[in-house]
């Protein structure tokens, strides 16, 4: 067990635990906060993988925007300050079963793949992932088109969200 592995295990357990809490907490605000925690764990995972920029973007976008959005949504859709009624279905075991099957299926299929136990390659020295990422995003031979389309998508989502949630009173 190297130090990297141990750190990974700790982070992984933290992330999964937070995720479990997200889906089982009764109180929705708590669930949103547990989501924040999970996202944070994921960001650490990114950092472990030397994807620095992604990790920062994760914190800024996901935690800073999306999780806050969830909290707002929860607040806007409460009938009263209490959470009433059961928060899971009657037949929740069916869903659990499905989840377990999915996990098992994925694991099974991946284990049959030859590159499953690959080792990480060493990063070359002076490896600047951020500038490479920047170039990839705007280079015409690379991914400028998806980048632009994604921006259009965001525009559409913006307009759509405003329109749908507009209060016509």
């Amino acid at each position: 067990m190297t130090a990297q592995q141990i750190i990974f295990l700790i982070v992984a357990l933290y992330t999964l635990g937070s995720a479990l809490m997200v889906v089982t907490t009764r109180n929705l605000i708590h669930a949103a906060l547990w989501l924040v925690s999970t996202l944070f764990g994921v960001a650490v995972t990114y950092a472990l993988m030397n994807a620095n920029f992604i990790a920062v973007v994760q914190v800024v976008v996901y935690i800073g925007a999306i999780a806050i959005l969830f909290i707002f949504a929860v607040m806007l859709t409460r009938k009263d300050m209490r959470d009433s009624g059961p928060q899971m279905h009657k037949n929740w075991w069916l869903g659990a079963l499905m989840a377990v099957f999915v996990f098992a299926g994925l694991a099974f299929m991946l284990s049959g793949w030859s590159g499953f136990s690959k080792a990480a390659a060493d990063l070359p020295s002076g490896f600047d992932s951020v500038s490479l990422l920047g170039e990839a995003l705007v280079s015409p031979q690379a991914y400028v088109l998806p980048f632009e389309v994604a921006s259009v998508l965001l525009l559409a989502a913006l307009v759509g969200a405003v329109y749908v949630a507009f209060n016509k009173k």
Partner: protein, 706 residues
Amino acid sequence: MSTELIIWLLPLPPVLAFFLIILFTNKSKALSHTIAVGAAFLSWLGAMVVFFRAVGVEHLAEHPFASSINWLPTGETYLKIGVLIDPLSAIVLFFVAWCVLMIFVYSVGYHNFGQPAGDHDHAGLPPHGATVHGHTVPSVEPMYSRFFAFIGLFAFGMLTLVVSDNVLTMFVGWEIMGLCSYLLIGFWYGKESARNAAIKAFMTTRVGDVFMLLGIAFLYSVTGSLSFHDIFREEVLHTLASVPSGVFGLSAAGLIGLLLFIGTVGKSAQFPLHVWLPDAMEGPTPVSAMIHAATMVSAGVYAVIRMFPIISLDEKTMTVVAFIGAFTALFAATIAVAQNDIKRVLAYSTISQLGFMIAALGIGAYVAATFHLVTHAFFKALLFLGSGSVIHGMEHGVLHTGNHKVDPQDMFNMGGLRSKMPRTFWTFLIGGFALSGFPLVTAGFWSKDEILADAWAHGHTVVFFTLAIAAFLTAFYTMRQITLTFFGEPRTKEAEHAHETPWTMTTPLIVLAVFAVGFGWVGMPHWITGGLVENWFHHFIGSMLHEHSEELAFNIVPLATSLIVALGGLAAGYFVYRNVDSPEQDKLQIPVLKNKWYVDELYNVVFIKPATWFSEVFVSKWMDKGFIDGVLHIFGPTTGGIGSAIRNYFDVPIINQLLGDGSAEVTWWFGKNLRPIQTGRIQQYLILSLILLFVVGGLLYFLLMA
């Protein structure tokens, strides 16, 4: 204009008149009769030109006017039709043209042209008189134009027959005349007796025509041609005479001749097919004159004369011909003695005289028969038209007295018409004397005498005596007729008020009377004038035969016989009937004779009733209604049964209920039970899709990986 062309055009004017009248001028009486008489005049003119040219030709029989065209392609050759004027057809053309023209002119007056339309006249019934200023006058015939159209067609048929140069077109003209006789005898179709008479005429002559057609077919099959020129050649005749036909031991010529003769038996009303002719008196009198004197019955005799070269080849056929001719002559004469209707006497007289001609042909007297044919046409037409004039006069009397129960045709209602209708009387007398064979001045004498002379000279004594007795009876009943009609005092009021008929009717009588007197002189035997005047007729017609027949030498026996029977008969008729005023006083009203020897009744039992039974009971009731309709009646219910079976056992349970309703039920059941799947809840959808994903994925994975 070439003679051949004129001959081709001769039948054309009357048929044109027929079409024009039928199609266009039916409404106008004056226009119709003008067209018709004009057409008859044109044909007469052409016929006269042809006749006089023909008479001027030397040896016309060897070089006749002939012209033919290819008509029917038959393999490599053609069936040719055309025209031919040789001595026989020239002489027949002569009398046909004259008689036809006279009858056409006569019809104008007979149908009361110029008179007003009748009070209660219907088309289809004889006109009954119109009231003008309180008097009843004769009214014009309602179907005036139609009459002229029909007799135009009739004239066309006869002219076609006369000018044709082959048996086929001769038969065509024959049949056209048969049709016209039906149309004209039944002219007043409103009378049931007229309708029946028309059918009887057509049917009876049809019987003869069928046999004639068989004869023509047989002739064609043996000789390969129907043209007179071809079939009368020496070698053809020789073949026909020697080939046996297999029927009754006759040679081919004999059978053909016999079959063709049967056609004449029908058309010329010889026994046993004579029954139609007396009934044909139902038609208007010009029709009777046309049919029974000038044209139709003459056509029958003409056919036998024309086919004489073939008929004469077989002894048996000739015997049959002579027998039938002589028998008919006597048979009809006996019936004529007991008839009271003025036209019926003439009808039976016609049958009898035709018998004379046929008998003459049977014994080989070719020229005599032809001579009698021509003279008979003239004086019989004259007699018929004269009787029509008498009837018209009597009808005038009937209209005057208003007593319509009096039959204007019954001779016992007449009497004393000599002073009332002089022109009719004198012409009728001439005709009657000609019929009786009054010596020297009448044509009938010369022709009848020649027949008797021929019979005696060639040793046919049975025929001679039969014909002599018939001649006696002829003179007797003719004088009876004249006496009852014209002499004595009028027996009824109607006869008192009779008066002469207009010039359109009496002028033809006079013209025909001239011929009835004069025509005989062209055929006088040469010994009468001591050899000074040649017997032109004998030479002219005799040239038709291959072996030139000798003129007969003088023999006292036939001459004396003729004189005795003619004068004796006339005298007997006059003296017996001078004092007879009613049928009860007439000793010769024997039922057998009056009822025509019951021949009609016999035919009714033997032929008509079985035929009627066959068609009404056997064919109509049993076969048609019973059998055929029965079969059809099986189809109906059967089809209905099949239909309802299919409906009830297949359509309703299987198609309707099982397939139709059943599929609907199944679909509805599926729908009902599948519907709850759609709950509108996304999470359930997700779960379901995941389950499905696992199932399919697992299947694919394990199937593809294995």
